[in-house]
Amino acid sequence: MLQVEHVNQYYGSSHTLRGVSLTVEKGQCMALLGRNGVGKTTLLKCLMGVLPVARGKVSWNGRDITKLKPHQRARAGIAYVPQGREIFARLTVEENLVMGMATLSSREAATISGEVYELFPVLKEMKHRRGGDLSGGQQQQLAIARAMLQKPGLIILDEPTEGIQPSIIKDIGRVIRLLRERGDMGILLCEQYFDFAHELADKFVVMSRGEVVASGDAAEMGEEHVRRHLAV
């Protein structure tokens, strides 16, 4: 279970996160919504440890991980699909996938599970191509596949559908639902594509200017006061 309590963060003198709190349970999909530039990515980076938290606490399965390095959080079972894909441009697709299993023992990491290839057949086709040569959407697929291979307890997805063709978005939706239903994994989904988020989420939070301004169960997501925070 991920627990975020009163997290604050600054870029220089600008206060980007102002006491953000949220909780993601196992088997639950939490949608993180908000307009452009409100601090969603920043929050996710803080959760992953890419950015330091100025004040506040992040704990995972009851353990305080606020001060841990990203790789320690990865080892603790948190996987991350960043905005902008961040694949290893000069490694082959296959090597990129193997990197997803960096936290596993080398025996477990010896083979890439067929599951991801089934989900993203293009990755199998392009196994030997360099990651950086892929098209934008292919890279996004690679980034998601990489995170799945980590067998995480929590998966953090920053706009995973960006640049992906509709049919695969649907597939990704199916996967997320599947993962959620397996019940051993928490999902934190930051998404602009409202309908997509709406369909998958159990709960949601909406951010505005670095603060959580609304939250609740998926059912309340379509309500006006929520929509208002997303409108321009």
Binding site: M48, G49, V50, K69, P70, H71, A74, R75, A79, Y80, P82, E86, I87, F88, A89, R90, L91, E95, V98, M99, G100, A102, T103, S106, A109, R130, G131, G132, D133, R146, Q150
Partner: protein, 536 residues
């Protein structure tokens, strides 16, 4: 010289006729050795050699080894381990006061060498005979020595030595008054002769002042011309192979110098100006290991180099890790600033070595198994030390390649270097990988330093001599491309060695640099540039 050899040979023949001559050496024979009349000393060497017994050999060997001493009373002593053996009496005892080394100059040394190798021609040890035969060939056989050589030839069982002796005979036969003998010799030499015969063969073709031929026999002139041609073409082939080899060996040196940088700079993007100093640290470690062996394992001295390899690797590795932890780690993502900091590190390392070891070079000797070389194609010497470096370079490259491409660690290294933050996020302990990678690059530089210590200076400035070349190699090959570094180094080595004979060392070097500039115009990302989107 000819005169001397004449006496020498005559005496040798005599001597071998009565090989059983024995007992101590006549002091009168030894006396001139202690004097300072050069001609008398040479004469004395010849006479002693004529004795052709063990004692004589011991005296001559001592002269050669600088272990022959004079006593105040005009006698000589062969000194081993603070005890003197008196060849005049056969007695061995402690050294008296006032002994002084016999001064040997090149002329005397030449005579001693000649005498010793003459004696060795009939030695039961094939190795000695071979060396002697080769020395004889190199020095040239005079007609007076022919009987001796003939005798040795008759007794010789080893085909190789026999061939050498035959060639030596043929060379001598070139001076024979008998046209037929000369002709046979000229023809025989077509297959074996070396460039040193060229003046003699050329002389056969020359015309005298009056226009007549120096060599009256026309057939013989033709044969001589043919032999000359054969020698020339063999020489030019040897020269080509030689250049190829020199280029390969220079390339291997460049490669060893650059390989560590290919990791710290090529892979990690650190403009590591202290790379040269890591080479230097490897070389100084070699020096220390050598000193240690000299002190504690003098018997195993020849193997100090083997011990130096892991030591140099670990010392350089440790220094690398230290640098990474204290300085470099703060500079990832700021590649240009690494230039500044590592420049500072380089100054400090250099001055530290100067303070500890002095500004002068220190001595690192080749182990004896690396001394000398194989002679191929008649005249081309391929030094063992160079061969060893080529093999060593190949091994190190193979090891690096395996580590980077066939291990998980290698994959992590490459991933971290491409996208540190994301590697961190998938669970790679990046700072440990950084440390290990920089350490690995440094350690490999240390290995390079061991190799460099075998062919050049070991001094505080060692690194400065290689830093520019190393960067050129890495960049020429394409930053981050191991294969590029290998090809770049070997290519530069070869181009250099084929240019140097034409342009000279200075213009050759300039030409190389211009070549690099032009080459980069053609391939702005180096030889093995990655193409496509992934490089953006």
């Amino acid at each position: 010289m000819a005169n001397l050899l004449k006496t020498l040979a005559a005496l040798l023949v005599l001597a071998f006729a009565s090989l059983s001559a024995q007992a101590a050496i006549d002091p009168n024979l030894l006396k001139p050795l202690a004097g300072d009349d050069p001609d008398a000393r040479i004469e004395a060497v010849a006479r002693i050699a004529a004795l052709a017994n063990d004692d004589a050999r011991k005296v001559l060997q001592a002269l050669k080894d600088d272990t022959l001493y004079t006593t105040p009373d005009g006698g000589v002593l062969v000194v081993t381990d603070d005890r003197g053996w008196n060849p005049a009496t056969g007695a061995t005892g402690p050294l008296p006061d006032g002994v002084d080394g016999v001064v040997v100059n090149n002329r005397l040394r030449g005579a001693v060498d000649g005498a010793l190798s003459g004696m060795a021609l009939l030695s039961p040890d094939a190795g000695l005979r071979r060396t002697a035969a080769q020395a004889l060939l190199a020095r040239g056989v005079t007609p007076e020595q022919l009987p001796l050589v003939a005798k040795a030839l008759a007794a010789e069982t080893d085909a190789g030595i026999e061939a050498t002796l035959r060639t030596a005979m043929a060379v001598a036969d070139l001076q024979s008054p008998d046209v037929a003998v000369r002709k046979a010799a000229v023809i025989a030499l077509a297959d074996t002769g070396t460039a040193s015969l060229r003046p003699q063969l050329q002389a056969m073709l020359d015309k005298n002042a009056d226009g007549s031929h120096a060599e009256p026999d026309g057939d013989l002139r033709l044969a001589a011309a043919n032999t000359l041609n054969a020698i020339d073409s063999r020489e030019s082939r040897a020269e080509f192979v030689g250049n190829l080899f020199y280029g390969l060996s220079l390339g291997s040196v460049l490669l060893l110098a650059a390989l560590g940088l290919a990791i710290t700079f090529g892979l990690m993007g650190i403009i590591n100006m202290a790379h040269g100093e890591l080479l230097m640290i490897g070389a100084y470690t070699t020096y220390l290991v050598q000193a240690l062996f000299r002190q504690y394992f003098p018997n195993a001295l020849d193997w100090y180099l083997v011990a130096a390899l892991p030591c140099a690797f670990f010392v350089a590795f440790a220094v690398g890790v230290l640098l990474e932890r204290t300085v470099i780690r703060w500079l990832y993502g700021r590649p240009l600033e690494t230039l500044l900091a590592t420049w500072g590190i380089s100054l400090i390392l250099m001055q530290s070595v100067r303070t500890v070891f002095g500004a002068q070079n220190v001595e690192v000797a080749n182990p004896s198994w690396m001394a000398g070389g194989v002679t191929v194609m008649g005249s081309l010497v391929l030094p063992y030390s160079r061969i060893a470096i080529i093999i060593f370079a190949a091994l190190v490259v193979a090891a690096v390649w395996l580590i980077l491409n066939k291990t998980r660690l290698g994959l992590f290294v490459r991933a971290v270097m491409q996208n540190r933050r994301m590697a961190d996020c998938v669970g790679v302990p990046t700072s440990r990988i950084d440390m290990m990678t920089f350490g690995l690059g440094s350690g490999i530089a240390g290995l390079g330093g061991v190799a460099l210590s075998q062919i050049g200076n070991v001094g505080p400035d060692l690194g400065q001599a290689y830093i520019v070349d190393s960067f050129m190699v890495v960049v020429l090959g394409g930053v981050g491309q191991l294969a590029g570094t290998v090809i770049g180094a070997l290519g530069l080595g070869e181009v250099n060695k084929f240019l140097e004979p034409v342009a000279g060392a200075v213009l050759g070097k300039i030409a190389i640099l211009v070549f690099i500039i032009i080459f980069i115009q053609r391939r702005p990302q180096g030889m093995f540039a990655l193409k496509g989107r992934s490089v953006e």
